[in-house]
């Protein structure tokens, strides 16, 4: 039967804050562990002392830590944060357990731009992300444009449009891939399964402010989302400006998803599994679920990316392979044990 205990507690600021702090501590621990791992081994003790500024390390080690590992860990965290936030919000807005931030076509839209950029031989710092972001945004505007009627967005129309646009663009992507046979093919496949190896601080300084602003805004809608999962009509009856919440949320989430995906490639599963995990553990209230999912997503992706870059060292796996490979069994275990907390009808 349904889980008793935690979920029947009233969600207070104190409770949200304490869960937030716990997850932040977990995030820092995972990030520090990740910093110590890689081909050049650095012990945890050294890392801690280095962070505290009490011990200096060799210049090459310092270079590896600050120029390679740290930006990658930070970007992984930010991408995980964003995708998971997008997942929890889309699941609520679309009232669909299969929803994740890519479901409206952002992933394939971004992929078209990225694959095109790679074909043209553009760089991974500016060219590919820029093209990818533009095509992602164009795609989501196309999907929302097709789905809107008299200023209203209808959930099932949005979902179907997204799925169809995804299918169409995937065909184009496959066509591109089929025509390429040199080293660009490897880049394309890595991009399609998520690749954080190109992480740079500049990417962080572009995406971080945007993600913070949008997630702050979305958080103000957390009670609106609680009411909207009970049906849009009933939310209207209780005073929610449903269409406004939908437009702002869809556009905000699409914007930040488009930005991070243009840097990271398509990392599947994070936006689907982490919100469900958090819902199973913490209950359905979005005031708690939104921050917990976002932070949980950051933890999950930092951990997954650490595995991806170390498991077959000195080679790397696309991080999307790890998120699905580790995430799926764990998810199924929890699903069997606790149920999805998602009931129909």
């Amino acid at each position: 039967m349904a889980l008793r205990g935690t979920k029947t507690q009233i969600v207070s600021p104190v409770r949200v804050l304490s869960i937030g702090i716990i997850l932040s501590i977990v995030l820092v621990v995972v990030a520090l562990t990740s910093l110590s791992m890689g081909p050049a081994k650095v012990s945890m003790g050294t890392i801690l002392a280095w962070c505290a500024g009490t011990q200096s390390v060799e210049q090459t080690t310092s270079m590896i830590l600050t120029k390679i590992r740290l930006p990658r860990i930070l970007l992984a965290g930010l991408v995980g944060f964003t995708l998971s936030l997008g997942g929890v919000v889309f699941q609520a807005l679309l009232r669909n357990p299969l929803a994740e931030p890519f479901i409206l076509g952002i992933s394939s839209g971004a992929a078209i731009g990225a694959i095109g950029g790679i074909m043209l031989g553009l760089g991974f710092t500016v060219g590919v992300p820029l093209l990818s972001f533009i095509s992602a945004l164009a795609t989501i505007l196309l999907v929302m444009g097709i789905s809107s009627r008299h200023g209203g967005l209808e959930s099932s129309t949005l979902l179907l449009t997204g799925v169809i646009v995804n299918a169409f663009f995937t065909a184009i992507i496959m066509f591109f891939i089929a025509t390429v046979s040199d080293s660009r093919l490897h880049s394309m496949l890595f991009w399609l399964y998520g690749d954080l190896s190109q992480s740079k601080y500049i990417q962080l300084s572009i995406s971080l402010p945007l993600v913070l602003i949008v997630s702050g805004l979305i958080y103000l809608f957390s009670r609106h989302l609680n009411l909207m999962v009970g049906g849009e009509e009933s939310a209207l009856q209780m005073g929610v400006e449903v269409e406004m919440v939908k437009w702002i949320s869809f556009i905000g989430i699409s914007l930040i998803t488009g930005v991070v995906v243009s840097f990271s490639g398509i990392i599947g599963f994070v936006g689907l599994i982490v919100p469900h995990l958090m819902r199973m553990i913490l209950g359905p209230d979005h005031r708690l679920l939104i921050p917990a999912s976002a932070l949980g997503g950051a933890v999950f992706l930092v951990a997954a990316d650490t595995v991806a870059r170390t498991i077959i060292s000195p080679s790397e796996l696309p991080v999307g392979v790890i998120t699905a490979f580790l995430g799926a069994p764990f998810f199924i275990y929890l699903l069997r044990k606790r149920g999805s907390q998602w009931t129909q009808g």
Binding site: M1, A2, L3, R4, K7, T8, I10, V11, S12, P13, R95, Y219, L220, S222, R223, H224, N226, L227, V229, G230, G231, E233, S234, L236, Q237, M238, G239, V240, E241, V242, R279, G283, P284, D285, R287, Q341, W342, T343, Q344, G345
Partner: protein, 267 residues
């Protein structure tokens, strides 16, 4: 009497199929009004129009002298609460969470409830006898319990008008009476203006001050139960032979549906 929820010449059409036409009446505070009429006569749509959820073609709905079409949703929700026929909850919110949701329209941007909100929710639950369900998941409730919780949520909205869409349709006779008793006593004690849609004409007639009979989108009659519920009108509007007599204990109209075997030719 002009401070209630007033409809003036409301018309609405939905494609070519059906419509509401020339609906005018007012719901006063402290009044319990029953809305009856056959399936498809437009009862639910009229209720939604009264809550400002449907854009009508003609006429206006005045909520305390203001056109409802110009009110923001949270302004409407502070004055009108709706108890929907069916509510689906996709997640296992607790009963208390659900009741507390009624406070939405009273809160600003800060997304957490204060002590006052909790107190109001508890009071609503006390009034509806749902306090002992507080920690249960909304999914685990029976039909009657769920209705009472939804009424508690409506009370938590602290609205002056409550609109109920067939609150008793899924319930057995004991729970039907319970719900009507509850609605009736809340109408009095809270001074609410209440509109309740019901298919149980005899039961509604025992509790309602006035009744509104809707037929194919038009008002067939409005007035006291005695005036509206008669053998002729009910038989004609529902196209089904009935006998209306007086309930010997309450003196309110009582509808008996006549089977073919009764051999009565109504026409």
């Amino acid at each position: 009497m002009d401070a209630g929820l007033i409809l003036k010449g409301v018309s609405f059409s939905y494609g070519n199929h059906w419509s509401l036409d020339g609906i005018s009446f007012g719901l006063n505070q402290g009044e319990l009004m029953g809305m009856i009429g056959p399936n498809g006569s437009g009862k639910s749509t009229l209720l939604r129009i009264m809550d400002g959820l449907v854009r009508m073609d003609q006429g206006e709905v005045l909520l305390l002298n203001r056109p409802i079409s110009r009110c923001r949703r949270n302004e409407v929700a502070r004055l009108i609460a709706m108890v929907p026929q069916e509510t689906t909850f996709r997640f296992g919110f607790s009963v208390f969470d659900v009741v507390l949701m009624g406070r939405f329209a009273h809160r600003g941007l800060f997304p957490f409830e204060g002590k006052e909100d909790l107190a109001i929710a508890r009071e609503s639950m006390r009034l509806t006898g749902t306090l002992d369900l507080e920690r249960r998941s909304i999914h685990e409730l029976s039909g009657g319990e769920k209705q009472r919780v939804l009424i508690a949520r409506a009370l938590t909205q602290k609205a002056q008008f409550v609109l109920l869409d067939e609150p008793t349709s899924q319930l057995d006779i004991r729970h039907k009476v319970e719900i009507f008793e509850l609605i009736s006593s809340l109408t009095q004690s809270q001074g609410l203006g209440v509109m309740v849609v019901s298919h149980d004409i005899s039961l509604a007639a025992q509790y309602c001050h006035r009744m509104l009979l809707l037929n194919e989108g038009r008002m067939h009659g409005i007035g006291s139960p005695d005036e509206v519920v008669t053998t002729n009108t009910i038989s004609e509007v529902y196209r089904c032979p009935v006998l209306v007599d007086k309930n010997p204990l309450t003196q309110t109209p009582r509808v008996t549906v006549l089977s073919k075997r009764a051999g009565v030719d109504i026409s």
